[in-house]
Amino acid sequence: MSDRLRVATERMEGGQVVVVGGEVDMESSPRLLLELQRCLAHGGRTVVDLAGVQYIDSAGIAVLVEALKVARRRGQEFALRAPSAQVTAVLALAQLQQFFRIEPAPDGPR
């Protein structure tokens, strides 16, 4: 029934994958920012899996930009993975695709 934000972090070699699902808006985006900051503080590579995001607005995009800047400042790798169609459309609208490293979904079962 609910499409709220879901955030789950998984370890991977050399870093962490933050798997995001549901809706990222003005209400929920602070929670995503906290989790991304936690991962970046942890060090290594951070990948944000956006395949399950049904809705993102400018507040959610702002969180991704903020995390990207922190990562750059600290010299850490930061990438978006498999953004959903809605996320891809909103990144394009913001003319921000080129600033992010965007990876395809990993092969095989997850």
């Binding site: 607005d57 400018s58 702002a62 609208l93």
Partner: protein
Amino acid sequence: MGVRVYQLQVPAVASCLRPVRAFLTAALEDVLAAATPAVVLALDEACANVVAHRARHLGRDDVELRIELWPDRVRFRLAAFCAAADLPAIRPRDLAEVRAGGLGTHFVGQLMDRVDYEPDPQCPGAMALLLEKRLPPEGRP
């Protein structure tokens, strides 16, 4: 067919954006068809701006949205959207600069066919925001 009118009033807090989006999607997807997500995003951004930025001295603590379904377009009116004095500050940011924030106004301008402000007679010193989206041919009644 005449004009169909919907009205929504919700507290101006971030948790009200989700019910507003749910309502708009269900009410408009028949006529907006593939344009539904774009319009819902634009309205979400406009409502979020009321929640985040509207001047407190206007004394309003709600988001009041009127939706008019015309044969060829949908018209939206957000009452008491901003103080008249704040209008000059409401501009899309320079997209060349990568920074968090300042995107909402850009989205609204890109996604809607009309963006206008008019004095809000119900709220002295405030402007209402008018938004319009033309219906795709397949959505017209």
